[in-house]
């Protein structure tokens, strides 16, 4: 079994896939910034952002179901904002008895919680479209264009290149452990010894993985040297941004600016 299924890129023919990665990354960041800047309870803004997001998802031909399913994976964090429903003072909505206390949900509390959840959900959808419609090397190019230091981009590239190799190694380690420690599906049949023992086994696997990574990086270094690596990270000059890409960028910025500014007019 290989772990290539981890790669979120889904090749499709769509205007979103064909868009210049630099434009795409910039617009994604501006979308997320717009969502972050819109105040709590600005429902009209959320509706406009949602229609924009839904349009982009539809245009990208990735499938609404796919994007929504992946977006739900990022949802458990919403628990962190849950207490806010009960702690912000305001008009009481519902009062629940919990043991000796009464939890009172307030209107401003619910408003804040729903707003945070919506903003987060909209932002993650755009991040998913970005990752699913852009091959990683294109994202690296976009990062360079956004002036991210060259060494850091080189580290991103190297990590990406060996991610799947090392994830495969980790899977093999996990399979070997499952085979040897007599894992059982029966309830009540616990495999292995105490927690400390299990922790040590997992730690040994992590150490093993790190050691293999060290040794692999030695071989990679040799291979790089034999191909002329001299410690300097070089990269091809960035291709020019086409006129239509500039237009898309300007149009996207205008729409997002308009959404943010819309409230000012009314």
């Amino acid at each position: 079994m290989h772990i290539h299924f981890l790669d979120p890129y889904r090749p499709r023919v769509s205007p979103i896939h064909q868009l210049d990665p630099r434009v795409k990354l910039s617009l994604t960041l501006v979308f997320i910034l717009t969502a972050a800047l819109s105040p709590i309870g600005a429902w009209p803004v959320y509706i406009l952002l949602f229609s924009l997001a839904l349009s982009i998802v539809l245009l990208s031909a990735l499938g609404v179901g796919y994007v929504l399913k992946r977006a739900s994976l990022a949802f458990p964090f919403v628990l962190a904002a849950l207490p806010v429903i009960f702690t912000i003072p305001g008009a009481a909505l519902v009062s629940l008895p919990v043991g000796a206390w009464r939890l009172t949900a307030t209107a401003p509390g619910v408003e804040r919680f729903v707003s945070v959840a919506l903003k987060s959900w909209l932002s993650v959808q755009m991040a998913i479209v970005l990752a699913a419609s852009t091959p990683f090397p294109d994202l690296l190019l976009a990062m360079r264009a956004l002036r991210i230091p060259r060494l850091l981009v080189a580290l991103f590239a190297l990590m990406w290149r060996y991610l799947f190799v090392l994830a495969d190694e980790a899977l093999r380690l996990i399979r070997a452990r499952a085979a040897r420690s007599g894992q059982s599906d029966l309830p009540g049949m616990r495999s292995g010894g105490s927690v400390a023992w299990r922790g040590r086994v997992a730690g040994g696997m992590a150490g093993n993985l790190f050691l293999r990574a060290f040794e692999r990086s030695d071989r990679i270094y040799m291979a790089m040297v034999s191909r002329g690596y001299d410690g300097e990270i070089r990269s091809l000059p960035l291709p020019a941004i086409g006129q239509s890409s500039w237009l898309t960028l300007a149009g996207g910025l205008a729409i997002l600016g308009l959404i943010l500014g819309l409230g000012l007019i009314f």
Binding site: L29, V116, L151, L155, G203, A206, S217
Partner: protein, 317 residues
Amino acid sequence: MLLSPVAMHIPDGFLSTLVSLVLWAATAIVVGYALKRVSKDLGERQVPLMGVLAAAIFAGQMLNFSVAGGTSGHLMGAALATILLGPWAAILVLTTVVGVQALIFQDGGLLAMGANIFNMAIVGVAVSYTVYRSVQKLSGGRKWGVFTGGFAAAWLSIFIAALGVALQLAASGVSPANIAIPAMGGIHALIGIGEGLITLGALAFLYATRRDLLHIGEPAPARGGLVWAAGLLIALLLAVASPLASVFPDGLEWVAGEQGFLEAAKSPLYQVIPDYVFPGISNTTLATIIAGIVGALIVFGVALTVAYLRRNRQTTG
């Protein structure tokens, strides 16, 4: 999810813009300095090593072991990376890990990435370094120093980073300090034990096979004193500030309140449909429902038009 071992990757939407941007600025300064240090001090051999180790940390986060009741211990890797690579390279490696997790797997947001790098790469590494280095010094480079130091560094790095996350959420006004801090701190005090046990196992393995990788008894790396002091300061600040903030949440609530005030000042400008009800309809419940329906119609109208136009173009073109 398999890729999200520690509830520490903050998604977008949770931090206020101010908190996000301040932490992005702090992260940019520290990572920029780390890049300078690494390019200056380390050889060219380190570049592939850091890249592959970042991949190994990512893969290592898949390794877990069952603790009790369906929960499992995982690895974040800040302490292990710090022990193996030294603080500056470890900051870069963890920055890369957090960056790829956010960009590719949506594990953590993009605007929140500054905060996530700050918590995991900067706080995690600085605290690990301070603890590990101090225990090493105390033990005089003996074997127990490596193991005790490794376990303590791993546990404290998780615990302090979690306090950082809780404080940031509280300062953004999305989670009350007196609940978020004890909850995050308590959960991660347990998760930290898992991290500590795995780090301990990994160190035991490396101690037996490749002792040279652990750099036992070597002099501190360049500017190690700076990291040591920073780690101590961060640990003390968060360990002291968090209980204070959870007992007297006024300070943080003041910050959140200031931001809430700014939002309240802005919000009338955002009401396209005033008070979410239509003017002229006296029944507020009915009006709210109508406002909701109008909103939903706008959403699906726009989306369906886009889809329809696209389909048309495909059939004609």
